[in-house]
C-alpha cells in the first residue's frame, strides 16, 4: 500500500539540468516544493581523473537505475528492435549537468522559426520531406531575458558576439542580440585554440571560443577551472563546472522551501476524473508513496518524461497522461551530431589536457547563416575542435591509411601520432519527422516491471546532406591549419540514442499537434508543467542545455506569476 504524504505546492520529478534550475524561482517565491530525484548526491571527491572510470565503465553517468531503462531502437515499424549498451540518461542530483562538458549555448533566433523563415527565403518546397516542423511558440527575443538569467545564475564563461545588435567578431557574431556580456571570460586560450582560430580566419570564417558553464574565475564561492582534462562524462572534482548540483539546487535548498528526496523512483503521475494532476507515486527503498501536489513539474529528461506520461494511464487519460490527442512521443529528435572528420598533424597538438569545452567553434555553416539555394537541404552544423583527449581514446586513433591496426608498425605509428590528431565535432540542426517517434516497448521492461521506451527512427535526407556539407568545411579548416591527412567517415545514420534528445512533448499553440502550451504547461492537464528538452520542437546546431534551462526557468516563473489560476 502506498503511504499518503502531506500535500505540497509543487512536486518536481527529476532534479537535473532543467528541474534543478526550475526549483530556484519557485523556492524564492515561497512555494513549498518536494523534488524527487532517482539518483543521489555525488560528492566531488568521487569524481576521478580516470578514463576507465568515467568514459569506459561510465561509473559517474550511469547511476543506479538507468541501466535497465535504456530505450530500445528500431529503424521502422517492421524492423528488428535493438538496444544500446550505454544509457543516455543519468540519475543524480544535478543529472546530466554533472557529466556534460558545460558547453552552454543559446539557440539562435532561426531555431525558433525554422518553418516560417525557410518558407520565406526558399519557398515551401524547401521544408524537408516528412518533416513536422512548426515554429516555436516562443521567440528568441522573448527567451532572451531567461538566457541572461541562466548565464548569471549558474555562471557561464564566454565572449558575446552581439550585444543589442552591436557585433563583436571575438564572439559568436551569428548569435541573437543579448542584453550584456557574459559574466566570465572564456576558458583560457592555448596554442591549439590559437592555431585553429587562425586557420578559420584564413578562410574568412568567424571562429570564436566555446561558451561554457564553467568558472573561469572564482565565482559563487567556488574555484576556477584547473583544466585537468576529465570533464567529459565525469564530474568536476573542484566544483568549477556549474552543474545545477553546485549552483541553483544549493541556492534553492538554502530557502528551506525545497525538500529533496534522493533515490526516489517516480512510477506514475496521478490525476483526478477532471483530468487535473493530483500528485506523484514513487518507490523509495522498497516502499511506495503518494505525494499529493497542487502542481507537478515533470523534469526527468526527454526519454523519461515521455515514458512517465505514457505509463500514467487513467480514466481521464486512457492512452497516457496528456495524450488524448496522441501527441506524446511524437516529434522526437535525436541530435544529428558526430565527429566524422579527423585530421593528422605533423606536430604534437598537446590537447590531452584542458577542458572539453575549451574549444574553438565555427558557426558560418550552421542554421541559415549561409545561402542554401540549390543545396537541397536546410540548416547545417556548427563545427567544434577542442581539448581533452584521453589516452585510450587517443591511442585508438584512426591510422589514415598510414599503418595497420596492430603490430609493430601500428605501435610505431601511435608512438609518433597519438598526440597529433583531432576530430571536428559537427552538430547539425535536426528536425522532427513523421517516421521518428517514441512509444513503449511491448517486450522489454525495467526492474520494477514497467515497459521501457522504444525509439522508432526512420531514414532522413536533410540531416545527412547538411552533415556532409559541414564535413567538407571541416576538411578545409583542418587543411588550413596544416593537417597532413584528413579523413571523413560520413555520418549517414545519425545517433540513434543521444544525450541531446529533444521533442516528444512538444510545445506549440496548436492543440492537435502539441502536448505543451507556450509556457511549458500541458494543454490537457493544466497543472502539469513539462520541463527540459522534450518540449523543444527543433534541435539547434549546438548543445541544448542552456536553452532548456532558460525555458525551465520561464515555466517556473510563469507558475509563480499565475499561481492561483494554475494551482487553483
Amino acid at each position: 500500500m502506498a503511504i499518503n504524504l502531506k500535500p505540497v505546492d509543487v512536486a518536481v520529478v527529476g532534479l537535473g539540468a532543467a528541474g534543478g534550475v526550475a526549483v530556484l524561482p519557485l523556492a524564492r517565491a515561497g512555494l513549498k516544493i518536494v523534488a524527487l530525484e532517482a539518483g543521489s548526491w555525488i560528492p566531488p571527491h568521487d569524481f576521478r581523473a580516470d578514463e576507465i572510470h568515467n568514459n569506459i565503465r561510465r561509473r559517474v553517468t550511469t547511476g543506479t537505475k538507468v541501466w535497465d531503462e535504456i530505450p530500445t531502437f528500431r529503424t521502422g515499424p517492421n524492423q528488428p528492435t535493438r538496444r544500446s549498451a550505454v544509457p543516455p540518461m543519468m540519475n543524480a542530483v544535478g543529472g546530466t549537468s554533472i557529466h556534460y562538458d558545460g558547453n552552454s549555448w543559446r539557440f539562435n533566433p532561426w531555431d525558433f522559426k525554422v518553418r516560417s523563415e525557410t518558407i520565406k527565403r526558399y519557398g515551401a518546397g524547401a521544408i524537408p520531406k516528412g518533416a513536422t516542423i512548426e515554429d516555436w511558440p516562443v521567440s528568441y527575443d522573448e527567451l532572451e531575458p531567461y538566457f541572461d538569467t541562466i548565464e548569471y545564475e549558474i555562471g557561464v564563461a564566454g565572449k558575446a558576439g552581439n550585444i543589442h545588435g552591436k557585433i563583436d567578431p571575438r564572439g559568436n557574431m551569428f548569435e541573437g542580440p543579448r542584453q550584456r556580456e557574459y559574466p566570465m571570460p572564456p576558458l583560457r586560450d592555448t596554442d591549439f585554440t590559437d592555431l585553429m582560430q587562425a586557420a578559420a580566419k584564413k578562410l574568412d570564417w568567424n571562429p570564436h571560443r566555446s561558451p561554457a558553464a564553467i568558472n573561469t574565475e572564482p565565482r559563487g564561492g567556488r574555484a576556477a577551472c584547473v583544466y585537468h582534462g576529465f570533464c567529459d562524462t565525469g564530474g568536476c572534482h573542484i566544483s568549477a563546472k556549474n552543474s545545477t548540483s553546485v549552483t541553483t539546487i544549493p541556492a534553492a535548498l538554502k530557502t528551506e522551501n525545497l525538500t529533496l528526496l534522493e533515490r526516489a523512483h517516480v512510477t506514475r503521475i496521478l490525476t483526478d476524473n477532471n483530468g487535473k494532476v493530483t500528485g506523484v507515486q514513487y518507490l523509495r527503498e522498497g516502499q511506495e508513496y503518494f505525494q499529493p501536489a497542487k502542481v507537478v513539474f515533470l523534469a526527468s529528461q526527454t526519454y523519461e518524461n515521455v515514458r512517465l506520461l505514457l505509463l500514467s494511464k487513467s480514466k481521464a487519460y486512457p492512452n497516457g497522461l496528456s495524450n488524448n490527442r496522441g501527441q506524446v512521443g511524437k516529434h522526437f529528435i535525436s541530435h544529428w551530431a558526430g565527429r566524422e572528420v579527423t585530421a593528422l598533424f605533423p606536430f604534437d597538438l598537446n590537447i590531452w589536457q584542458g577542458a572539453f569545452a575549451q574549444g574553438v567553434v565555427v558557426n558560418n555553416w550552421a542554421d541559415d547563416n549561409f545561402d542554401h539555394s540549390g543545396l537541397g537541404f536546410i540548416g547545417g552544423a556548427s563545427l567544434t575542435v577542442n581539448h581533452e583527449v584521453h589516452p585510450i581514446a587517443g591511442a585508438a586513433m584512426p591510422t589514415f591509411g598510414r599503418a595497420p591496426a596492430w603490430g609493430a608498425k601500428w605501435k610505431a605509428f601511435v608512438r609518433e601520432n597519438a598526440g597529433r590528431w583531432m576530430g571536428a565535432y559537427a552538430q547539425c540542426n535536426t528536425f522532427p519527422y513523421e517516421n521518428t517517434y517514441l512509444d513503449l516497448d511491448p517486450e522489454v521492461k525495467d526492474r520494477v516491471g514497467n515497459p521501457v521506451l522504444r525509439i522508432t527512427s526512420g531514414p532522413k535526407e536533410n540531416e545527412p546532406r547538411a552533415s556532409a556539407y559541414a564535413a567538407a568545411k571541416a576538411v578545409e579548416w583542418f587543411r588550413s591549419a596544416g593537417a597532413i591527412e584528413v579523413a571523413t567517415t560520413p555520418n549517414t545514420e545519425g545517433p540513434v540514442l543521444s544525450t541531446h534528445a529533444v521533442g516528444g512533448t512538444r510545445m506549440g499553440d496548436n492543440l492537435e499537434t502539441n502536448v505543451a502550451d507556450k509556457w511549458g504547461f500541458s494543454h490537457e492537464a493544466p497543472n502539469l508543467g513539462i520541463l527540459g528538452g522534450s518540449i523543444m520542437g527543433t534541435h539547434g546546431s549546438r548543445n541544448p542545455t542552456e536553452t532548456m534551462q532558460a525555458l525551465a526557468w520561464r515555466t517556473a516563473e510563469h507558475l509563480v506569476k499565475n499561481w492561483k489560476s494554475i494551482a487553483g
Binding site: G354, T399, W406
Partner: protein, 207 residues
C-alpha cells in the same frame, strides 16, 4: 559511440572519436544487455585464466603490440593483467565468451598452422591473427576486435586497473599523465607538457 563492443574499425575507430552528444551508434541485441556488468570493484585480485589460457592470451597480445625498440609491448605493460582483473570483476558477464574465444583462436592455430597458438613462431602467430583480422577464420573477428580494444584499455588506462605498468603505455604515446590541475604552461604546443607519473588511485597490484 559505444565501440567497446566493436573496437577495431581499422580505418577510423569510432570509439576514439570522442562524441560528446551522441551516446551510442553501436547497437547490440537486446539479450546481451541483460548481462550488463554492474558489479562494484572488487578488492581481491582474482584470476580467470588457467596457465594455458594466460599463455594463449599473452602470445596474442605480444603480436598485437610487440615488445621492440619502441618500448615495452602489451604484455610488458600488463594488458593481460588488466584483462584478467576485468573479467574477474567488472566484465564477469563476458568471461565465458572470452575464454571460448581464446580456445577458438588456439583451435584455429592448430588447424591452420598445425600447432598450439602459443607454441608458434611470431611470424606464424601473425599469420593466424591476420587471417582472423581479415575474417578468414570462422566467427573470430569480433573476438579479435574485443581483445584489441581491451589491450588498448590495459595499455593506456589508469594503472589502478592493473595495466599500464610503470606508466609504460603513457610513456609510449607521450601522454602527460593524469593530475589534479594543469597550468597554462602545460597547454603549450611548442614546449612539451611536464610528465606526471604518480598513481592517483593505486597501481592495481594488491589493492
Amino acid at each position: 559511440m559505444s565501440d567497446s563492443t566493436n573496437p577495431a574499425n581499422t580505418r577510423v575507430s569510432r570509439r576514439a572519436i570522442i562524441v560528446s552528444g551522441a551516446v551510442s551508434s553501436a547497437l547490440i541485441p537486446i539479450a546481451a544487455i541483460q548481462a550488463a556488468p554492474q558489479t562494484a570493484a572488487s578488492k581481491t585480485p582474482a584470476t580467470v585464466f588457467s596457465p594455458e589460457q594466460r599463455r594463449i592470451l599473452e602470445a596474442f597480445l605480444d603480436r598485437l603490440v610487440p615488445n621492440d625498440e619502441n618500448g615495452p609491448g602489451a604484455v610488458e605493460c600488463g594488458a593481460a593483467n588488466y584483462i584478467d582483473l576485468s573479467l574477474a570483476d567488472y566484465l564477469a558477464a563476458e568471461k565465458t565468451t572470452f575464454l571460448d574465444g581464446l580456445a577458438a583462436v588456439d583451435a584455429f592455430a592448430r588447424s591452420s598452422q598445425g600447432a598450439p597458438f602459443a607454441d608458434l613462431s611470431p611470424e606464424k602467430r601473425d599469420a593466424v591473427l591476420t587471417a582472423i583480422d581479415n575474417n578468414q577464420a570462422p566467427n573470430l573477428r569480433g573476438f579479435f576486435n574485443r581483445v584489441r580494444r581491451l589491450t588498448l584499455e590495459g595499455m593506456f588506462g589508469d594503472p589502478s586497473y592493473g595495466g599500464n605498468k610503470n606508466f609504460a603505455g603513457w610513456d609510449l604515446i607521450r601522454y602527460p599523465g593524469a593530475r589534479m590541475a594543469v597550468g597554462p604552461e602545460d597547454q603549450r604546443m611548442k614546449t612539451p607538457p611536464t610528465l606526471y607519473r604518480k598513481p592517483l588511485y593505486g597501481d592495481g597490484h594488491g589493492h
